[in-house]
């Protein structure tokens, strides 16, 4: 029955409905505004859960796809034999085993962040409007199956983020917001250029008609996937026309497109040395926004790299795999070593994110099932763990007014619940088996080890540093003698405890029973692996 309902559109649009309702509510009623925002994050959460629960890997993608041509522009171009040419803009949504886990992650983290926004103290209406707009953008990124559409949604997340950092952040918020925009703008420019190259050279369907070829250009992902997987057929089909136009996707052009995509998504992930902007966002943005930033937005980079880099240009990814693996190891060790010496807890977490995203890169570079699943698993897991960590940061800061490690200490005495959750989140972050972090790490290492043993072995040392920085910072906050000013602080309120317990439960679930996610992912990578094995086999 789910097949008959446009679930994907409902997920995409429900935050927008929430946005309209928030706009109509009185701006001084922070409780009303928050309740409305939470309700309208719960709706897509419920829908995503339904989608996830009823998702049938064997049934094929068509059951969960929507496709409309939005507008079609004829291109005035003289054609041989009187054919015609159109440029189509599509509204095309779909989910598969790769986007579904990330869609669910977005829904979960958004709901938790909406709940955690209880700490926001000013301009609630604008805050929730931007929040819901951001949420729509994120859903759009994971659902879109058209390059132009993807680009628009990707940009749609930037603008609300810019204001959310710049208005509600801490002391250095404005600089952080500018830094965020400059970097991501450069990334977007690279992405747009790559997309235009791909669309212009491979993003078309040619149909033989009486009057000649009718050629439709569009950003359709499915068309690109088909054309790029089988270049011979699409080139032959309209070879005369194409040669005439000079539209041919040469290897060097493919290479250029891949590098541009790597830069575009590398900024987002972030890959060293493009990471400094995200440090600022981690420290300056309000914690509930960092939950989304670290929990979901960084994963848009991973998703983009897999969806467009790996699936559209697998040969280029393959030739770049050693470089990506080395970049991954640099991310892991650089982030981890720097996390060990930070004095500000939020910076520890920021560098730890860099380190964990390095593991994702290792998984992608492996180009095998274990590694790719590991990369995606690690993304989901890191999303949940960092959301939980920043949820705790928000609650701690409200009580202590500081997240400097040397000003904190002994909190396990006065806030045992918060401290216990913090320790659990820390253990998940350092990859303790039984919690979600281990599965992603293990699969990524396992995958890459098949092709690059030494690089993996060096990367594995990241787990040692992870133990050092996690224990150093968490124990500095919770263990030791209780610092005087914090003797009277109260433990988490019910409203704070609910998202913490929920996220912890999910982290445990994914750590104990990974099949719940891997069975879905397995379906997503099938086609890619066939392509790769065909090439290496043939």
């Amino acid at each position: 029955m789910i097949e008959d309902i446009p679930v994907l559109s409902l997920i995409l649009l429900s935050p927008l409905v929430g946005l309209l309702i928030v706009l109509l509510l009185p701006g001084q009623r922070s409780n009303w505004l928050r309740t409305a925002a939470v309700v309208f994050t719960l709706i897509p959460l419920a829908l995503s859960l339904w989608l996830f629960a009823s998702f049938q890997p064997g049934a094929g993608g068509a059951a969960y796809a929507e496709h409309y041509t939005w507008l079609s522009i004829p291109l005035n171009k003289e054609m041989v034999n009187g054919g015609s040419m159109n440029l189509n803009f599509d509204y095309s949504l779909s989910v598969d085993g790769i986007s579904l886990p990330l869609l669910l992650l977005t829904a979960i983290v958004s709901t938790m962040a909406a709940l955690a926004s209880v700490h926001i103290r000013k301009r609630w209406k604008l805050f929730y409007v931007l929040f819901l707009l951001l949420e729509t953008g994120m859903y759009g990124v994971f659902l879109a199956r058209d390059l132009i559409e993807f680009f628009i949604f990707f940009e749609l997340t930037l603008i609300p983020m810019f204001f959310l950092i710049g208005i509600w952040g801490y002391y250095g918020r404005e600089k952080a917001a500018t830094r965020f925009l400059v970097y991501n703008g450069l990334g977007s420019a690279a992405m747009l250029l790559a997309f235009l190259i791909l669309i212009a050279t491979a993003g078309f369907t040619a149909v033989q008609q009486d009057t000649g070829f009718q050629i439709d250009f569009s950003g359709s992902y499915d068309v690109l996937l088909k054309n790029l997987a089988d270049p011979a057929s699409y080139a032959n089909n309209a070879s005369a026309e194409m040669a005439d136009l000079g539209l041919y996707l040469s290897d060097s052009l493919k290479w250029t497109a891949f590098v541009l995509l790597l830069v575009a998504f590398g900024v987002k992930i972030p890959i060293f040395p493009f990471h400094t902007w995200m440090l600022r966002v981690h420290t300056e943005a309000p914690p509930s926004i960092v939950m989304i930033h670290s929990g979901v937005l960084l994963k848009m980079g991973v998703y983009g790299l897999i969806r467009f880099g790996a699936f559209l240009l697998p040969a280029q990814l393959e030739s770049w795999s050693t470089a990506i693996a080395i970049l991954g190891v640099i991310n892991i060790l650089y982030g981890a070593v720097l996390a060990c010496v930070q004095k500000e807890f939020k910076l520890v977490l920021a560098y730890s994110s860099i380190s964990h995203m390095g593991i994702v890169l290792l998984g992608i570079a492996s180009l095998n099932e274990a590694g790719l699943e590991g990369a995606l698993y690690q993304s989901v897991s890191h999303g949940l763990i960092s959301a939980l960590l920043f949820l705790i940061v928000g609650s701690l800061y409200e009580r202590t007014n500081t997240t400097q490690l040397d000003e904190l200490g002994g909190l396990a005495k006065s806030v045992p619940f918060l401290s216990g959750i913090l320790l659990t989140a820390g253990l998940a972050s350092l990859g303790l088996p039984g919690l979600s972090g281990f599965v992603g790490e293990f699969l990524s290492f396992l995958g890459l080890f098949g092709s690059m043993k030494w690089i993996t072995a060096i990367g594995v040392f990241g787990i040692l540093f992870a133990a050092v920085y996690v224990l150093r910072s968490v124990l500095n906050i919770t263990y030791g003698p209780l610092k005087e000013p914090f003797a009277g602080i109260k433990d988490a309120r019910f409203i704070e405890a609910v998202p913490m317990v929920a996220l912890t439960a999910l982290i445990v679930l994914l750590g104990v029973y990974p099949s719940v996610l891997t069975d879905v992912m397995q379906h997503g990578f099938g086609g890619l692996l066939e392509q790769i094995s065909q090439r290496t086999g043939g």
Binding site: L253, V337, C340, E369, V460, P514
Partner: protein, 621 residues
């Protein structure tokens, strides 16, 4: 016949359930919660004993079961459990010590406000260790291996307000994690080199034990050494032994449970489980033997110069684990497992006895104790039995198992044997020193000491009985234990030479200790006055901690700080340049926005030309 073995998975599940319940109840559970943990450990013990009964009767076949944990097209990662004589033996040892420690803790921890948290951690620990023992493949074992490590961390840091406990907990986790990296890489290697990506112990046995040549010698040695690195970390072998003595910051019952009887044995158990890989590589075997022998004597000498009762016992643990590794290195699985078996009982006994003493006098410094033998008769008597067992005096359990190790060592290489005997002499000496300083003579500190309550002394008595009789399962006259555990394995018989030499070494050590610390006929500063440097070297534990600080901790910290500066000024600086040029362009734009239409048109035109040039240039890419 329906086999009890099908329900073996319940053994770790009982305490895991207790952990879940206690955690959900929070601190409100109180002392009632403590009984939940104890009942769960009793349930594990009963089931383990029933399993052992079935295996001893000889009717049960080996049983294993597993399920798919992660499925993928090309491979499956599965978890599972396996019931063999070896796993059942370990189940009984772990669940028995765990149950006794649970019982004892009711007395020892009764005034602690976090008593239910303590029992929750103990339950989680028992569950992980029992799971580790039951594992049917390396992945399952690795998962529980890490969980055991984290429980140890939680329990060492139980008194979280003490800075020493915080430091010790952190150190325990991080140092053992160095070993875990080795184990993890070994698993990755096995996954890619084993036929069908199998990590099962049975498959490992088949591939390395019978089909030699499937995996090349170099890789075999590498895998064995990496697994051994994991074992070195967990079992406190040199050079990763540094965490174990510091781990004595935890509550004393925990020292008995984790750092004596069970967790540290996990390394020895791991090597035993993957022994075919080691046997396939002579280089790996030699490494194991040398590290084991060196650790045995190295830790024993440190034990001579310590004054903290728990630290002396901790170094003795390190030393005894060295014996077990030595046994493995010279090819005697039976010797290693036998010594592990007896050591679990008498070392748990010694630690719980030490806990009883600490409970009474509220200090851990043996120089402040003395004359406790008259006031704490049960503690003194049982501790004496434990000390004799550790010193290898017949007929106590440690004698038989140490002889088995020494016999195997002598057969392999006389040097191992000589090192083992000297270490045995030191062991007897430091135990005599400990015993006489604590229990003999006159009180030097607290005089109000009294015997501990029954809930603490009963576990001592049970363990004392085991420390007396556990050795008779494997004597030179009856080798039932080895044949039951490892059917078909050849074992060395302890010759008269081995027996005599080891007894003489033990008695000499005790006699010397008695002369110095009880009778006083040899001055205590006989060594320290002549060789102050040597004593200082031992007191400072050969400066290994200081060395690590100098070689690893400081350089890495320095590197971190250096990178931090680079990250701030170089990496981020490049961005600032980009950012500034962007805002410069922005300023330029503001100037352009003069409101004149022509300027706008010009700008747009320039942009278009650039775009057109870019597109035109594409052909040449």
């Amino acid at each position: 016949m329906s086999s009890l073995a099908e329900y073996a998975w319940l053994v770790p599940v009982f305490p895991a359930a207790a952990f879940a319940v206690l955690t959900a109840m929070g601190r409100g559970a109180g002392r009632g919660g403590a009984w939940i943990g104890t009942l769960a450990s009793l349930a594990s013990l009963v089931l383990s004993l029933m399993l052992a009964g079935q295996r001893l009767s000889g009717t049960a076949v080996e049983y294993s079961n597993h399920f798919d944990w992660i499925r993928a097209g090309g491979f499956t990662l599965s978890l599972g459990y396996e019931v063999t004589n070896l796993t059942v033996l370990m189940l009984v040892v772990v669940s028995l010590v765990s149950f006794l420690v649970n019982l004892y803790s009711h007395g020892y921890m009764k005034d602690d406000e976090r008593i239910s948290t303590f029992f929750a951690y103990v339950a989680l620990f028992s569950s992980s260790m029992l799971g580790l023992v039951l594992s049917y493949n390396l992945l399952t074992m690795y998962i529980f291996w890490e969980l055991v490590g984290v429980c140890s961390f939680l329990l060492v840091g139980f008194y979280f307000r003490k800075p020493e406990a915080k430091a010790a907990a952190k150190k325990a986790f991080i140092v053992t994690r160095i070993g875990d990296i080795g184990l993890l890489i070994a698993i990755l290697l096995l996954f890619w080199y084993m036929p069908n990506h199998s990590l099962d112990f049975t498959e490992i046995h088949n591939v390395f034990g019978t089909q030699t040549g499937v995996i090349s010698m170099g890789i075999t040695t590498l895998i064995a050494l990496l697994i051994f690195l994991g074992a070195v970390g967990k079992s406190g072998q040199f050079p990763l032994h540094v965490w174990l003595p510091d781990a004595m910051e935890g509550p004393t019952p925990i020292s008995a449970l984790i750092h004596a009887a069970t967790m540290v044995a996990a390394g020895v158990f791991l090597v035993t489980r993957t022994f075919d890989i080691f046997e396939a590589s002579q280089a790996a075997m030699t490494t194991v033997a040398v590290i084991g022998a060196f650790t045995a004597i190295f830790a024993a000498t440190i034990g001579l110069a310590q004054n903290d009762i728990k630290r002396i016992l901790a170094y003795s643990t390190v030393s005894q684990l060295g014996y077990m590794m030595l046994a493995l290195g010279v090819g005697s699985e039976t010797g290693a497992m036998f010594h592990l078996f007896t050591h679990a009982f008498f070392k748990a006994l010694l630690f719980l006895g030490a806990g009883s003493v600490i409970h009474a006098v509220h200090t851990q410094d043996i120089r402040e104790m003395g004359g406790l033998g008259r006031k704490m008769k049960i503690t003194a008597g049982t501790f004496g039995i434990g000390a004799l067992a550790l010193s290898g005096i017949p007929p106590f359990a440690g004698f038989w198992s140490k002889d088995a190790v020494l016999a195997a060592a002598l057969e392999a290489n006389p040097i191992y044997f000589i090192v083992g005997v000297i270490a045995a002499f030191f062991t007897a000496l430091y135990m005599a020193r400990l015993f006489f300083l604590v229990f003999a003579g006159s009180p030097r500190g607290a005089s109000h000491a009294h015997e501990s309550p029954a809930v603490m002394t009963v576990p001592l008595l049970v363990l004392a009985v085991l420390a007396v009789i556990a050795g008779f399962v494997q004597t030179p006259f009856s080798e039932w234990f080895g044949e039951w555990l490892f059917p078909g394995a050849e074992e060395e018989h302890a010759s008269v030479l081995v027996i005599v030499v080891s007894i003489v070494a033990g008695l000499l050590g005790i006699y010397l200790g008695w002369l110095i610390y009880a009778k006083g006929s040899v001055r205590r500063d006989v060594v320290s006055s002549r060789m102050p440097g040597l004593v200082r070297l031992l007191e400072r534990k050969y400066y290994v901690d200081e060395l690590y600080d100098l070689v690893f901790v400081r350089p890495l910290g320095g590197l971190g700080k250096l990178l931090n500066v680079i990250d701030d000024y170089v990496v981020d600086g490049a961005v600032r340049v980009v950012g500034q040029s962007a805002s410069a362009i922005g300023r330029l734009n503001t100037r352009l926005q003069s409101g004149q239409l022509q300027t706008y048109a010009l700008t747009a035109l320039i942009g278009l030309v650039i775009l057109a040039l870019a597109i035109a240039g594409r052909r040449f890419w």
